[in-house]
C-alpha cells in the first residue's frame, strides 16, 4: 500500500488513532504518514475542547417541567399532553367525537364568515417573510431608543402587543410558530438583556410591574394551551412556548430585582 491509500484509509476509519495492523505496519516505517496521522488525531482531539458558552435555558426548562408535574401531584402519573395518542379507547373515542364537533363548528363559522365577507376586498395573503420583516422592524424600533429604561418599557409593551395579536393566527400554524418564536426572542433575550443594564433604582421602579404582567401572560398562555390541546395541537405548542418564555422572563426579572 502506498502513502495515499494509507491516508485515505485513515480518513475513513472510525478511530484513526487505532488503525488496523496493516496500516500500523506502514506507519512504523513511514515518518511522513506517521506525522500525517498525528495531525489528524490531534485535530480531532482538539475539537471537543473548543469552548461552548454555557446554556442558560436548561434550568428554566427543567423547572417548567417540574412545575407542570407539581401541579398534578408530586409523584402521581401525569396525563401526557393531548397530542400524544391516548391509551384508553373510550376517551380516545370521546376525543375524536369532540374533534369532529369542533371541525364541524369551525366549518360552519368559516362558511358564515365567507358568506358575509365582502369578497371584492379580500387581500392576497401576506407572505411569511414580509411578516417577519415587519416584526423585526417593530423590534428594532423598540431597541432604538436612548436609555435602557425606555428600551425595557418598549420591549414589555411590544411583548404585550404580540401576545394580543397572536390570537388572530389561531388557524395558521406557520404564523403561530413564527409569532411565538418572536415573542420568545423579545422576552427571553432582548427584554432580559436590557433589564440587566438598568440601575438598581430603575429596576425597582420598572421591573415589578413587568414581572406581574409576565406572570399573568404565563397563566393565560397556559390556559389557552390547555384549551387548544385536543383541537389544535400546533396552537397549543405555540402557547406553551409563550408560557415558557413568560415564566422564564418573570423569573429572570425577579432575580434581577433581588440583585
Amino acid at each position: 500500500m502506498n502513502c495515499t491509500v494509507i491516508q485515505r484509509r485513515l480518513l475513513a476509519a472510525e478511530r484513526p488513532d487505532q488503525p488496523p495492523a496493516e496500516i500500523k505496519g506502514h506507519l512504523a516505517q513511514c515518518p511522513a504518514c506517521r506525522a500525517w496521522q498525528r495531525r489528524l488525531v490531534q485535530m480531532e482531539q482538539l475539537i471537543p475542547q473548543l469552548p461552548v458558552p454555557s446554556s442558560t435555558a436548561k434550568e428554566p426548562f427543567l423547572q417548567w417541567m417540574k412545575d407542570e408535574s407539581g401541579k398534578r401531584g408530586q409523584n402521581a402519573l401525569i396525563q401526557p399532553p393531548a397530542f400524544i395518542s391516548h391509551p384508553f379507547k373510550k376517551e380516545r373515542a370521546l376525543r375524536k367525537l369532540s374533534l369532529a364537533f369542533t371541525l364541524a363548528a369551525s366549518l360552519l363559522v368559516f362558511a358564515l364568515a365567507w358568506w358575509s365577507w365582502p369578497h371584492h376586498s379580500v387581500l392576497p395573503p401576506v407572505p411569511l417573510q414580509s411578516d417577519q420583516a415587519k416584526l423585526e422592524r417593530r423590534l428594532s424600533k423598540s431597541l432604538h431608543v436612548s436609555t435602557p429604561k425606555e428600551r425595557v418599557l418598549r420591549l414589555a409593551q411590544l411583548a404585550d402587543e404580540v401576545r394580543g395579536e397572536i390570537r388572530k393566527w389561531m388557524d395558521n400554524s406557520e404564523r403561530l410558530h413564527q409569532w411565538s418564536q418572536f415573542y420568545w426572542q423579545v422576552v427571553s433575550r432582548h427584554l432580559i438583556e436590557q433589564a440587566r443594564q438598568l440601575t438598581p433604582e430603575e429596576r425597582q421602579a420598572v421591573l415589578p410591574d413587568i414581572a406581574l404582567r409576565l406572570a399573568a401572560a404565563e397563566s393565560e398562555a397556559t390556559r389557552l394551551a390547555t384549551q387548544c390541546k385536543s383541537a389544535a395541537p400546533h396552537a397549543a405548542a405555540a402557547f406553551e412556548r409563550i408560557a415558557l418564555a413568560s415564566q422564564k422572563g418573570e423569573r429572570d426579572l425577579r432575580a434581577l430585582l433581588k440583585g
Binding site: E14, M43, F61, I78
Partner: protein, 193 residues
C-alpha cells in the same frame, strides 16, 4: 478521542425513565432532559454557531420528543432518536432562515495555560473553530457526532437518515477538508524557514 463504545457512558436508569416518561411521568422525562441537554446543546451550538438558536433548538427538540415519546420503542437507541429529532429541527430552521449567516461568537481563552501557551492555543482553537464553520453543514454534523459524541458510523447514519457508507464518506470529507483548511499556507512556511 471519544470511544465508539457507548455502553459505558449511557444513563444507567435510562430504560426505566423512558418507560415511566411514556406513561406520563414528567419528572422522569425531566431526568432525561437533564442528562441529554448539554450533549445536544454542544452539538447544536457547533452546528449553528449561535447560543440562542442552539438553545431554542434543544428546547424545541425536547418538546417534540415529549410529544412523540409514545411512538418511541423503549429498548432502542434513545440518544439516536433524540439527536435525529434535533437534526430535523435544525434542518427545518436552516430552511426557514434561508441560510441567514450567524456571526461566530467570541471565545474566551482557557485560563489553565500560561500567557504564551494560552495565546498559541487560543489562536489554534480559533483557527479550528473557523475551519469547522467553513465545512458544509452536513459534513460538520457527521464529524461532530463522530468526534464529540463518539458515535459509530452506523449510529450517525441512523441520526442523519443516511446509509452507513454515506455517513463514513461525510466524516471522511469533513476530515479531509479540515486538514486542508488547517494546513500551513506556502507563504507561512517560507516565513518560518
Amino acid at each position: 478521542m471519544a470511544s465508539c463504545d457507548n455502553s459505558q457512558d449511557g444513563l444507567a436508569d435510562e430504560h426505566r425513565l423512558i418507560v415511566a416518561a411514556q406513561q406520563g411521568d414528567r419528572l422522569a422525562f425531566a431526568q432525561l432532559v437533564e442528562y441529554y441537554w448539554e450533549r445536544l446543546y454542544r452539538w447544536l451550538y457547533r452546528l449553528t454557531g449561535d447560543q440562542h438558536m442552539a438553545e431554542d433548538l434543544v428546547q424545541e427538540s425536547f418538546l417534540k420528543a415529549l410529544a412523540g415519546l409514545r411512538k418511541f420503542q423503549a429498548g432502542t437507541n434513545f440518544r439516536a432518536w433524540l439527536f435525529r429529532i434535533a437534526h430535523n429541527n435544525y434542518v427545518n430552521q436552516c430552511r426557514a432562515a434561508a441560510h441567514r449567516r450567524q456571526p461566530l461568537p467570541e471565545d474566551l481563552p482557557d485560563s489553565q495555560f500560561g500567557p504564551l501557551d494560552q495565546a498559541v492555543r487560543a489562536e489554534m482553537l480559533q483557527n479550528l473553530r473557523r475551519a469547522i464553520h467553513r465545512l458544509p453543514a452536513e459534513f460538520r454534523a457527521a464529524l461532530l457526532l463522530r468526534v464529540e459524541e463518539g458515535l459509530s458510523f452506523r449510529q450517525i447514519a441512523e441520526i442523519l437518515d443516511l446509509t452507513e457508507e454515506t455517513a463514513r464518506w461525510r466524516v471522511f470529507k469533513a476530515r479531509q477538508k479540515l486538514l486542508s483548511l488547517l494546513a500551513p499556507r506556502p507563504e507561512q512556511e517560507r516565513e518560518k524557514s
